[in-house]
Amino acid sequence: MSDAISDAMRDTVALDNVAAVRPIRARLVATVAGFGAVTVAVCLLAPLVGSTQISLTRVFDRSIPFANNVDAQIFFIARLPRVLSGALVGAALAAAGVVFQALLRNPLATPFTLGVSAGASLGAMLVIILGVNIAAGSLPAVPLASLAGASIATAIVYWLATPYRRAMSTSVLLLAGVTLNSFFSALIMFVQYIADFSQAYRAARYLMGDLDIGSFDPLVAALPLVTVAFVAFATLPSALNMLSLGPDAAATRGVDVVRAQRLAFFSASLATSAAVSLAGPIGFVGIVVPHLVRLMVGVDHRIVLPASTLFGAAFLVVCDLAARTLLAPIEIPVGVVTAIIGGPFFLWLLVRRS
């Protein structure tokens, strides 16, 4: 009897600890508000900072015609599209990273693990080297070709990893992706090898990633793709929680596993393709951001996914700010900045896990 009483007391004490577990709704609101505020602040401040000082009052001074208003030109043409594309690409890559990590049940997966970016790079590379100059409307050939390359890579990996009407095999998915990555990388090197100097330089710059898009057009072109991906992402978080326990465990908790896996795979591939087409393969955002976010808010995907989206946007805008100001007037490619931060971080994660 006294055992029962002490058990009951222990449970009561324990449940006081449980009560300290904040309800998911409150956590979600606090997280989105916090990360949202940081992201908005970063996106507002970043266009004001740069190698040339500009004044916000002059930027919005309607009395000076736009043609003569250098501050407004720098703000609206050079910096704002760049900051916004940084935010869009950062958000897309970070969210895609979260989704791929849950789908593959592997915290070390990135948006580029399955070969999407290598496919995109190969497409872009071919257009650069062959000097193709077709364009659809305002869209130049390079982003179109990288989108095509990414789609082909996505299709190949999907076809390899999906048996008829059954759940995807995540190990086949990983192996197919890794193999495709090296295969495409070899082709990319070959194409670079046969290129002349100026083409090879352009190609190398593409591979480093670049957010200097120079106008709003590429941004407007990428926006619908990213929007579709994020609409799909919005339906995924609780399924991703279940999938990270394994496909069978997810199924027995009521997840339509085949559907959820396909949706996750295609939406994350789409977001990655759009991001890479806009700015080239900017590495490490998709792994650094989700892990930093998990350290801050825990691992529940219903919180991690929106938080990573917001934080990814802020992270890439800040990295790009560093890229264009640290050694001004020389610009460091933004992919180099994220890799310099991301590489050591990734290794630290690896060591910490083992």
């Binding site: 449970d11 324990a14 709704r25 009521g254 825990g298 691992v299």
Partner: protein, 281 residues
């Protein structure tokens, strides 16, 4: 609610499309040439409401496959599974999960969830598409934690728990699903003697007090003898025998099932049949 399987057959080697082709070529389940391909052949099992059924058989006999078919994770190629009056293949994963919960041998989450988060995942089939769990879900999770004696672990990271604690948390998560039927796949396989007895007592208690129907696949004959009221013996993908534990569990059936000569006697102090393996046949 009765969970029943009728003339189930399943093979891992062929996808459904190919199975259809083979079936046409060689006739259903009697597929002589492909007989060896079937993990389960022509299995019929009925699990009565409120019963605690043990699923026994040697490695690779199809126990896990049968559990996956009963839980709807796998779809049978031939035959059908019925949950009460309804055909399982016509139910959505969500509808099935509202009735049936599963405790696998081991659960390895890819991320560092807390115990409370793990248990709350059991509420998933009862939530709408964008619905977050509310106070009533939290209350059910707490109750499940208390029922499995894991309330003091609620704030801990699941991955830092011992094997026995993990298994109890997974059972709590399954209870939070408020299932009518609980399927367990060797839940004590990796646990030491103390935890084995603890889990056995827990299952028995949940079965008696809450009327949860349970199907327990296990290699532990003594565990099965101590908790199960009904046994189903599976050998080479077929049902060898099914019936009340005390009738089914005999030296003869153990020998038939495992090829092991064993003493099966009623143990007064334990209060159930016990199996002492003597030697391989």
């Amino acid at each position: 609610m009765t969970l029943s399987a009728t003339q189930l057959s399943y093979s891992y080697r062929q996808g459904p499309a190919k199975a259809g082709r083979y079936a046409r070529k060689t006739g259903p389940a009697e597929a002589g040439h492909y007989a060896g391909d079937f993990a389960l052949r022509d299995i019929s099992v009925s699990v009565a409401p409120g019963s605690l059924t043990g699923l026994l058989g040697p490695n690779g006999c199809g126990k896990t496959t049968l559990l996956k078919l009963l839980s709807g994770v796998l779809k049978p190629e031939l035959g059908s599974v019925r949950l009460g009056e309804r055909e399982m293949r016509l139910l959505s994963a969500r509808a099935v999960a509202q009735q049936i919960a599963v405790v696998p041998q081991e659960t390895h989450p890819a991320f560092d969830f807390t115990v409370m988060e793990m248990v709350l995942m059991g509420r998933h089939p009862h939530l709408g598409a964008f619905q977050l769990e509310g106070p009533s879900d939290l209350a059910i999770a707490r109750e499940s934690l208390i029922a499995t004696g894991t309330a003091h672990l609620a704030g801990r990271a699941y991955m830092t728990l011992s094997g026995g604690e993990k298994q109890r948390v997974v059972i709590a998560s399954a209870l939070a699903q408020k299932p009518k039927v609980l399927l367990l796949d060797e839940p004590t396989a990796s646990l030491d003697l103390g935890y084995q007895l603890e889990i056995a007592a827990l299952l028995k208690q949940l079965n008696r007090e809450r009327g949860v129907t349970m199907v327990l696949a296990t290699h532990d004959l003594n565990l099965a003898a101590s908790v199960c009221d009904t046994l189903v013996l599976v050998r080479e993908g077929r049902v060898l025998m099914q019936g009340p534990t005390n009738d089914v569990l005999t030296s003869a059936t153990v020998q038939q099932l495992y090829g092991v000569i064993a003493d099966v006697t009623f143990h007064e102090r334990a209060g159930h049949m016990t199996v002492i393996p003597v030697r391989r046949q």
